[in-house]
């Protein structure tokens, strides 16, 4: 009986091996896993799933939506463990630097993006690069413009758009006299300052060789000017976004600098002012200077652990360079394509009733080639925290702008030396 049973088990094993070999022979069937952090990305991936199945029937896309912070802690855990990473991951610009330390667990994408260099706005790759190696390709362009209440500016007799910041500050005094702040700027975090620093022509907190330039004369000058806006009342620092939206709704803040997505935030959070907003290029620091900046972004990255890197890139190409997909993505999550040939699509150029029937798309199309390049790398998180603190110390009057930035730079250099 025992003998018969063992023969039966042996037969089963043989069959399962044959069956297993049968499935292994269908090697083309693969699964690509994508980790993302927002339903607005998940909805996009789900929306293009059926079309991709037609192009690549052997590829199954599995989208795993994980809360923002947790996603990157999990990713870090997978890199440390050497297993468990997805094929593709949406890396938000604020978290990329930690993944550029050591031996990055992400795949260099320089050769893959190179054929698109004329069409893709390459300035966006600086956010996800280290020493010339690109580890992420952005979903979005995120060009920065000046959103403003055209009714308030018109009442104060200010004609928009304004060419330079000097002219803007001068004109804004008419608003300040009425108890209205022309701008909202943060006095404790780095984002607003960074947008303006990039616009001024600086590559940010690091130069092309990765040297710390937080305390460069250019950065000090921009911070001094920035703090001057806060001191003079041209700008206000309400401290949190809910206060900003409340003051916008009350007409106490008349304008804001922000990326394409920030226009969506204003629309959603200050809905009662529909039709009263318009957008204009940023006033330049000098006549003929840059009229835009960039803020935010999320990149496609391929992990080094992926066993299907070619297929992963093929999928990214489909998602990013297929115009229909990018227009669909814009409709789903309001992210403007970072691809020049997509920006003149009719779907992006339509009038927006919230913005007084202005075509924001036309403005973004005009500014897209001016989106500034920047340098980030593995120490950006440390830099941005220190600069945020420096802005706070200077805004509180604890230090001068120069001293605050010099101290931040010294501390940053100390941290980089420490490793």
């Amino acid at each position: 009986m025992k003998y018969k049973f063992s023969r039966f088990v042996g037969l089963l094993l043989l069959l399962s091996m044959l069956f297993g070999a049968g499935t292994a022979s269908a090697q083309d069937d693969i699964t690509l896993t994508i980790w993302t952090f927002g339903s607005f990305f998940t909805d996009f991936y789900k929306g293009i799933e059926a079309d991709y199945k037609e192009i690549a029937p052997h590829v199954t896309i599995v989208v795993e939506e994980i809360p923002y912070g947790q996603l990157y802690d999990n990713l870090q855990g997978a890199f440390v463990a050497g297993v468990g990473a997805p094929d593709i991951v949406d890396v938000e610009q604020g978290v990329i630097s930690r993944f550029l330390k050591g031996e990055p667990g992400l795949v260099p994408l320089n050769d893959l993006i190179a054929p698109y260099a004329d069409d893709y706005i390459m300035a966006k790759t600086g956010l996800y690069a280290h020493q010339g190696t690109i580890y992420g390709i952005d979903h979005c362009l995120c060009p920065v413009v000046l959103y403003y209440r055209h009714d308030i500016f018109a009442d104060a007799g200010i004609e928009m758009p304004i060419t330079t910041w000097d002219e803007f500050v001068e004109a804004a005094s008419a608003l300040t006299e009425q108890g209205i702040s022309a701008l909202s700027l943060s006095d404790r975090s780095w984002g607003d300052f960074y947008m303006l620093l990039l616009q001024s022509g600086s590559p940010g907190f690091f130069d092309a060789d990765g040297n710390v330039i937080v305390d460069s004369p250019e950065a000090i000058a921009v911070l001094e000017w920035y703090l001057g806006l806060l001191e003079s009342g041209v700008a206000i620092a309400p401290g949190d976004s809910q206060s900003i939206y409340g003051l916008m709704s009350e007409g106490k803040i008349a304008a804001a600098i922000g990326a394409d997505w920030y226009g969506g935030f204003i629309k959603n959070n200050v809905a009662d002012t529909e039709g009263l907003w318009r957008a204009a290029p940023l006033p330049a620091f000098e006549e003929g200077g840059a009229r835009t900046s960039t803020h935010g972004g999320t990149a496609y990255s391929i992990t080094a652990q992926s066993e299907h890197k070619d297929e992963a890139w093929a999928y990214i190409e489909f998602a990013l360079f297929n115009e229909d997909n990018k227009i669909f993505e814009f409709q789903v999550n309001n992210l403007l394509p970072p691809v020049l040939s997509h920006l003149d699509n009719e779907a992006l150029l339509g009038p927006d009733p919230y913005f007084d029937n202005q075509s924001l798309g036309e403005l973004f199309l005009e500014l897209a080639p001016e989106v500034p390049h920047q340098v980030r790398g593995p120490w950006f998180n440390e830099a941005s925290t220190l600069v945020g603190n420096a802005i706070f110390e200077a805004a509180q009057g604890e230090k001068t702008a120069e001293q605050a930035l010099k101290d931040a730079a010294a501390e940053l250099r100390r941290q980089i030396d420490f490793g």
């Binding site: 978290v95 330390k101 050591g102 404790r188 975090s189 440390e382 603190n389 490793g419």
Partner: protein, 312 residues
């Protein structure tokens, strides 16, 4: 070749016999260890293992990938002069002292009130003090963000209606008090529960005897309630101290540790270094220092409360 299985079988049979003999000799000794082994296996895998590995990591600089760089005690010496770590240590001590000064006395008073005959609708109070513990920290902290909002917050609106100028609750000067307010709201209830359990375990005969001897309310509280609460007070004290030193979510959600690191705790800084900045070695060193601080303070508390004294 045909004889091999026979030899094999014979060996197996001998082996089986040996195993059986060993099992019959050792069964009584081994089985209890097998029964308690799940805890120890989990404890070693998820607690002791990571602790030892963190100690190893703390002697290195490592971003999680690539080669580790051995630095000896370099992370610890850097920590001793790291201004942000020292700031986070001071903030954490502030929260711990605040918890002892506000939460524990408040919890004791509430427990005494609920335990007394003065309060009628006890179940209502029980729900009231326990609800904050059941509420999600994120949801509760977001609610407090709205309350503390500079421009439109409930508190500042209330102050404005009294003609008092608005205060910046989340700025450098007041942010720690705001964090402490959230923590007090959240953790007072659970401490009321502990104290209530302690109060209800005091034998009523003690109070009856004291009343017969003419002791007043204060004398009963001073000479019966407080001494009888000593074991529970020790427990509450140690748990509060450990909880305060591990405080993470409230300052993170309320002010992201800021502004200018004014509300940052050691646990927040550990996360920032270990995860956000991918300095696993340095983060591990912070973790070990935090563990040693908690161990040391717990030891002192236990010693002061006489936990190591032999019972007479």
């Amino acid at each position: 070749m045909a004889s091999l299985p026979v030899h094999g079988n014979a060996r197996n049979t001998d082996g089986d016999r040996g195993l059986r003999a060993w099992w019959s000799r050792s069964e009584r000794k081994v089985v209890p260890y097998v029964f308690i082994s799940p805890f120890y296996i989990l404890f070693i895998v998820f607690s002791v293992g990571p602790l030892v590995y963190a100690l190893y990591l703390s002697l290195h600089r490592w971003p999680g990938t690539g080669p580790m760089r051995h630095v000896g005690l370099g992370n610890y010496t850097y920590l001793a002069g790291d201004p942000v770590f020292l700031k986070s240590l001071w903030n954490t001590v502030y929260y711990a002292v605040g918890a002892f000064l506000f939460i524990l006395p408040l919890a004791l008073v509430l427990a005494l009130l609920i335990n007394s005959t003065l309060i009628r609708i006890k179940s209502l109070f029980r729900i009231g003090y326990f609800l904050p513990i059941l509420t999600s920290t994120v949801a509760a902290t977001i609610m407090f963000l709205l309350i503390f909002n500079n421009e439109f917050g409930l508190i500042n609106q209330g102050l404005a209606s009294l003609g008092i100028p608005a205060l910046k609750w989340l700025d450098e000067e007041l942010v720690k008090i705001s964090v402490l307010a959230v923590v007090t709201w959240r953790y007072t209830g659970i401490n009321v529960l502990y104290f209530l359990t302690g109060l209800q375990s005091i034998p009523p005969e003690l109070y009856e005897a004291a009343q017969v001897d003419g002791a007043g309310t204060w004398a009963q509280f001073r000479y019966i309630t407080l001494p009888q609460l000593r074991p529970i007070a020790l427990f509450v004290g140690v748990v509060t101290m450990i909880g305060s030193f591990q405080l993470f979510a409230e300052p993170m959600l309320l002010a992201n540790g800021g502004p200018n690191d004014a509300s940052l705790t050691i646990a927040n800084y550990l996360y920032r270094m270990g995860f956000t900045n991918a300095k696993l070695g340095y983060g591990s060193a912070i973790g070990w220092v935090l563990a040693l601080i908690i161990f040391g303070l717990s030891f002192i508390q236990l010693y002061l409360f006489g936990a190591f004294r032999k019972e007479d």
